[in-house]
């Protein structure tokens, strides 16, 4: 295109097309090429390879358990973020905030239910996913390290649930965490110190609530997201999902 061909009128007429092209950065090509470009040209999809083995699509092989765990994590992040708008990590206010969510806030109950049930479901599905990986022998070389990442993901999932359990500051929360933190104090040598650091004091109180809150809404989700990134990256680098060797 020569410079003389530039015209502001033309630009305005082409505006929608140009904006679309700048976002998708996709040129013309064969159908095959365009489908490939749809995957690798998109930041959110390019963790996927352009082509996958049919075995990974077999519903009866993975049962989608890892994916379901991941989706639950996404739902938890979204609903948790919304809950934060109405929650204060204070022993005076936390329980009242819960009651407000239940009776006052529009869609508050549903939001809280979604967050709670997804959390329970995530623990269950991560465990089931681990069982599927075990029973299909998918932790064998070269996937050993991804299994290790997975074990850490399981631990982070459990810690996320446990820290979240205290936040409503009801009887269930208080005594479950009292019992839980006392189990930690049975650790040899360091036990009492670990409990003290975990609670930020000698008893489950304001400091413990604040600590659990920070871990629950910032530290552990960031850790989980990072580990998930590595987990997915490794699936690709290890050659996609496991499958029978002689096909």
């Amino acid at each position: 295109m020569s410079e003389s061909a530039y015209s502001i009128k033309e630009s305005i007429m082409q505006l929608p097309r140009n904006i679309k092209a700048s976002i998708s950065r996709r040129g013309e090509g064969t159908a095959e090429q365009e489908r490939a470009a749809a995957v690798f040209g998109n930041m959110f999809l390019h963790v996927h390879p352009v082509r996958v083995h049919v075995n990974s699509l077999r519903a009866g092989y993975t049962f989608g358990l890892g994916l379901i765990s991941f989706y639950l994590f996404l739902i938890l992040v979204a609903s948790g973020l919304l809950l934060m708008f109405y929650y204060t990590p204070s022993t005076e206010l936390a329980y009242r905030n819960m009651k407000d969510l239940e009776y006052v806030v529009t869609f508050g109950v549903i939001l809280r239910n979604v967050h709670r049930w997804s959390a329970h479901a995530m623990v269950a599905f991560v465990f089931l996913h681990m069982c599927r990986v075990f029973y299909t022998g998918s932790y064998k070389a070269p996937r050993e390290f991804n299994w290790v990442i997975g074990v850490f993901l399981l631990l982070v999932t459990l810690f996320l649930s446990f820290t979240g359990y205290l936040l409503p500051w009801d009887q269930l929360a208080f005594w479950a965490v009292t019992v839980g933190s006392n189990i930690a104090s049975y650790m040899p040598v360091l036990g009492d110190y670990v409990r003290f650091l975990m609670l930020g004091g000698n008893e489950v109180g304001q400091m413990a609530l604040l600590r659990f809150y920070v871990l629950h809404v910032v530290a552990l989700p960031l850790l989980a997201a990072t580990l998930l990134g590595v987990h997915f990256w490794r699936i690709r680098k290890d050659g996609g999902l496991s499958r029978p060797s002689n096909d």
Binding site: T178, F196, G200, Q206, M207
Partner: protein, 172 residues
Amino acid sequence: MSSENSTGATILPFRTTDEAVDEERRGFVKKMAVTALTLGVGGAAIQSARFFKPNVLYEPSKAFKVGDLSTFPIGSRIVIEGRGIEIVRERDGMHAISLVCTHLGCLIKPVENDPDIGYMCPCHGSTFAHKGEVQGGPAPKDLPWYEMYMDNTGALVVDTSKVNHKRTKLAV
């Protein structure tokens, strides 16, 4: 350390012994550097972890008044709400016993009118004798007794930071 052949050209051996020594020295320097770095960074990290230990606690004081002698008649067992202790007064003196289960920290309930069992934990069913000894259940330790004294105003004070290991009663 070069040698000469018939054409007079100098042929350098593939690797001189000097270089081998050099390798060793390099290895040593590298090891030292890595060790120093690990110690430095590790030490700094451990020291930084002290940040997480609160230096001031806004918790109720460990030593507190429980009331005058007259609040505790002989033969009474009175639970001090919110402090996790019970004051027991018998003919030969009184003592403050912890009501926090030594198993997992649940609050223990005093059992009334039972000659053997004095306390029972609702969480995992541990039972304790009247003096605090474990009778049954998973509790690993006896219930501690705390130091107790009378201050200059005549009020009884319990200090839960000091365990009365000898289990001596406060004679009154």
